[in-house]
Each structure stands twice: as structure tokens, then as C-alpha cells.
């Protein structure tokens, strides 16, 4: 157990509304990641962070922003949600060259 929690675990929202997902870790890991999982695509990296206020884009970053003001929290924001952002979102941390994943957030955009 890498001490990762995600909130909310489930969310239903409407197109055009802003949404923020939170990832919280308890073990002071430097690297944190946000992925989305869609059928037939595996997991794809959205954004990652390598320290407080240090973030970078991943493969599918369009429409997403992130923030990391504290080591333990990594926030993913959908500024204006679209139906194509309906997905399961996973947060991960890196420890000893290995990534460990949170339980996921299931997001439905209507």
C-alpha cells in the first residue's frame, strides 16, 4: 500500500462545468502522475509532477491542467469538462523506479 487516496471516487458532471480531482499521498514521494484509462487504450499519461510547483505534460494533456502546491497533494482540473473526458482517472507515485497507483476516480461527463 503506497498510501495513495483519490477523491472523489465517483463523479457525474455536466458538459462545460469545471471539475477538480484530488490525489493525496502520505509518504512524501517526489514524483506524482495522473493517467486516464479508457477501453482499448490502456493507461495514458496526462500530466506529471517532479516536485512542488514542478509539473510537465504527458501524452494526452489537452483540456487538463494540474497543480501541486504541497508535496502530498496533486490536483487535476478539467477547466470545462467534455464528454470525451468521461474516463477512469488514476493517480500514481514513483518509488524506487516503480509506479504505484491509487484506487481511481470514475468520471462521467453528461
Amino acid at each position: 500500500d503506497a498510501g495513495i487516496t483519490q477523491s472523489p471516487r465517483h463523479k457525474v458532471t455536466e458538459t462545460g462545468t469545471p471539475v477538480t480531482l484530488r490525489c493525496h499521498q502520505t509518504e512524501n514521494h517526489r514524483y506524482m502522475y495522473w493517467y486516464r484509462q479508457d477501453p482499448g487504450h490502456g493507461l495514458r499519461l496526462i500530466h506529471y509532477s517532479y516536485g512542488v510547483k514542478d509539473t510537465d505534460k504527458g501524452e494526452v494533456s489537452d483540456g487538463y491542467s494540474v497543480s501541486r502546491s504541497k508535496t502530498e497533494d496533486f490536483l487535476l482540473t478539467l477547466e470545462s469538462a467534455t464528454s470525451s473526458q468521461t474516463s477512469v482517472y488514476f493517480c500514481a507515485i514513483s518509488s524506487s523506479e516503480t509506479q504505484y497507483f491509487g484506487p481511481g476516480t470514475r468520471l462521467l461527463v453528461l
Binding site: Y31, Y33, G42, R44, L45, E97, T98, Y100, F101, G104
Partner: protein, 117 residues
């Protein structure tokens, strides 16, 4: 750029039979290799990993994988599967990073293992 190919999207198998889930990768640099398992409606759990050393890696739940550099493969095997092994399995590759940075993970699209009684 790195890529990962999982050659089978679905693998049905009978209980107590052996199974092999295939994974090939492409990379121009040295890599780390991982297998993760995802049970229905759950997150990803690390099954096993290859970072260095012996090319035969043993993981949890009786699974093992062999790193074959010449074939650029990292196939997952289990000699006798159980109903409880029904899940989706993901192969992933990471480069070694540089300048102290962490390599990012590239995932395959997953293989759904279905174990039938």
C-alpha cells in the same frame, strides 16, 4: 519513442491450465519492464518488475516473466491458473530517465485473462 504491444487482447483459458500473456516493446534505450494486474472495478496492482539482474523475474500469485533483450519481449507466464486470476493484465515499459529524472511509463493496451472452470 517507446511503445508496448500486447499481442492478445483476450485470452480464455481453463482452470489449472498454463497461460502465457505476450508483451513486446520497442525502445532505443535501456528500459525497465513491468506487469500490472487490474481486477474488476479496482486499481492497478504491481505483479512483477524487471529493473536489472536475472532476466527471469518472479512476482506475486505464482506469476513469472522473462526479459528477452534480443527479442524485446517480456512475456508473463503462470504454470497453472485459478479462477481468481481472471483480470486484465497490463505490460508497461519505462526508460531509465536521465539527469536524475524518472522515466515515464508507457502502457500496452491490456490483455483480459478469463479463467473458466
Amino acid at each position: 519513442a517507446q511503445s508496448v504491444t500486447q499481442l492478445d487482447s483476450q485470452v480464455p483459458v481453463f482452470e489449472e491450465a498454463p497461460v502465457e500473456l505476450r508483451c513486446n516493446y520497442s525502445s532505443s534505450v535501456s528500459v525497465y519492464l513491468f506487469w500490472y494486474v487490474q481486477y474488476p472495478n479496482q486499481g492497478l496492482q504491481l505483479l512483477l518488475k524487471y529493473l536489472s539482474g536475472s532476466t527471469l523475474v518472479k512476482g506475486i500469485n505464482g506469476f513469472e516473466a522473462e526479459f528477452n533483450k534480443s527479442q524485446t519481449s517480456f512475456h508473463l507466464r503462470k504454470p497453472s491458473v485459478h479462477i481468481s486470476d481472471t483480470a486484465e493484465y497490463f505490460c508497461a515499459v519505462s526508460d531509465l530517465g536521465y539527469g536524475g529524472s524518472q522515466g515515464n511509463l508507457i502502457f500496452g493496451k491490456g490483455t483480459k485473462l478469463s479463467v473458466k472452470p
